[in-house]
Subunit: 161 residues, 6 copies
């Protein structure tokens, strides 16, 4: 059974992430969405909130082979623990490219048996990321095409506080 | 009458910005230099100082169809309020490219009728930006080819404090 | 009256070109689609065929301020003859960027008063160009989302010969 | 059973290609190396020679789940015929990026159910490609680190003619 | 005698830096590794620690024409004081490119007689930098291929505190 | 004595090439401009004409430590024959970057003791190359800022034939 991790901060998960996730479900037997607990940055959503949003979307989308977990520390150590042989990354634009390659190379040096697999999201998500979603939400911009309805509700609630 | 916004932080305005502004005055009936009030970063110059510097330069250059304003919130909302149909952006280098495309795309999603128009500055300004000007000023470097004399004076005064 | 050229080889015109053209019609009083007669490459469609396809599309789209012409020689000389003050170019991807900047810079050296104005096509056309359309047509691929119906018919006719 | 195509011109196959192929064998149940019959360019090695070289390497490397075929026409049509759900591509450098994305996007438009999967070769193959191998071979350069011994022999024989 | 500066933050020096340094020793009569005292960021290692690590490596490697110093203020002023006519920079990836060009251009404007000379590190260091080394060290990752043994020891000591 | 090659096609030499050459003369004891005899492309100027143009410019500029030669075959073999330890390359733009890195890497694999040294031309030559010069000359464009007067005359003579 081929297991893949799909790691990220997911603060919050966008439709671009969901697009990549869905493509991954067709390529691997099991996909574990892996929410990074990043201690250096203060996320808009707590680790628990980010995991819960993804859990809700997995259920609503009725994905059979997807689960969500959070992790701290070295990604490849978590991958080994989960018997994953692949790490999924969306590759949207040149600006992603070198950072992603650096991470892939570093991860390979740490654990050569785990492959980083790059997938391309739908072109309508090329320039979408979580930070632009947060910024637009704060400025009361229109983000309904960019995030799932449960994320939209969570963003509105978070901002109204 | 075709109205265009030329938005930016302008902290401070450089000769590269002035070069783009001048090109824009020939393409549009009216250009509004639009100073962003960015609440998350602490600028070297206050919003009022940045607007005043630009105002002084507009007068000295005797531009007939240029004004300067500041704005908060969503750029496209401000554009609509001003009946602008275009947003001007200078495109200097690859590193600008993807950020600018992301912003242009996001703005288009918010207001499809407003076009982002990219202009190329003179090649001597290719690698010039406000942050390098601030850094050089702080290190007592030579910046007289990079900014207008009124900005040079303002920088010297600011740093001597 | 602000006149802009929209130059290209247009072998054949794609929906990406039409998208840029339509945006340009809102920014300028008059847009002249300018078909380059490139003597060094052998196009799939003759100059006359390329001009005729664009003419048909202009009529079907009922653009009021668009015309089509062909030109040979230096683009800026043609621009001056037509009293154009702007040259429109679509900017889709990084690979376009440096070539376009080179051309814009060279044109500016030849005629400083003519500005190159870059517009961004819809993201669904980011990776579309005439050469991929020709290649797909030859391989019997599906190109109906990429070109106007009159171009589709012309391609099928051309290939069946 | 997950089947993937690994398409290319392979004129000739390099150690960078073999590196990607080996990674793919761990991710998919079956990998079909797919040699493109490109009618517009004249390859150094004939389709048969390129297929034979790859066949020899597959046997020497004792890959159990790899085969080699050639194809003409649309890649996605061949993928469908072979029940492949993935197309493997090596992604080495920025210069690959946009071309690969264009092809992936075009292929997705033709057959949305087939995913393009990008893998990263070992960094020592970052700047290696078939054309540099051919050029070095012709100039009598040292290429033994770049190609498999059977390819080295074939290149020497080809050039001595 | 041709003197070159090799400036950087070196927080800490990596094997990629050492690779560039070694190449520079063959091109210039004297190379001064120049540790930047950056007042705006808090480095992991103090200026003294960074200079000492480099000093130890210079001795162990028995470089005859290398010394290390720290500097504050404008790099070109320091270069003039040291009679250096060249500034050495490693160029690894596209993401370096524009920043490096900006700095080279700015430095040239300040002192036209000092050339920036770009060297390419070994491809195995393409994606290596000090920040990834610090991050891996903090996560207890394997970094022994990335730094000199004295740096490895210093990192372990620093982190255990 | 440090000897450097400055290789290229120089069809014809531009002011951008001369700018790089002049910088190199300050860094090395001797610089050999090395004109590539490229058998696969048909140049506008013959090898002899290209060498002669460069020779004339060297004399007019009174460079004391520059000579010009042509070479066929592997660049590093020629470098070894000339006792050169460095290969000079101008790096103008991202589009140069990957090609130049590939060549530098390949050359290093062939002869590890020869370093490729990248220099940055004046920003006014960023987008200048020989092919744009030839194209502009053929279209009767203005190229007097781009090439030395002797090259201008040679181009006019060549084209009038």
């Amino acid at each position: 059974m081929k297991i893949a991790l799909y790691p990220g901060t997911f603060d919050p998960i966008t439709n671009g992430h969901i697009d990549i996730l869905e493509r991954a479900t067709h390529l691997f037997d099991k996909v574990i969405v892996t929410v990074a607990v990043n201690s250096s940055k203060t996320p808009m959503f707590s680790t628990k909130e980010r995991v819960d949003l993804i859990q809700t979307i997995i259920q609503q989308k009725r994905y059979k082979n997807v689960s969500v977990e959070h992790f701290e520390g070295l990604l490849v150590s978590f991958a080994k623990k989960k018997n994953a042989t692949a790490i999924i990354r969306g590759l949207r634009a040149i600006s992603d490219f070198e950072y992603e390659f650096q991470m892939a190379l570093i991860n390979r040096k740490q654990a050569g048996e785990i492959a980083t697999v790059f997938l391309m999201p739908h072109e309508k998500y090329t320039y979408l990321n979580s930070s632009i979603v947060r910024e637009l939400a704060l400025l009361n911009g229109n983000i309904k095409d960019f995030v799932h309805p449960v994320v939209l509700r969570a963003l509105k609630k978070k901002i109204s506080h």
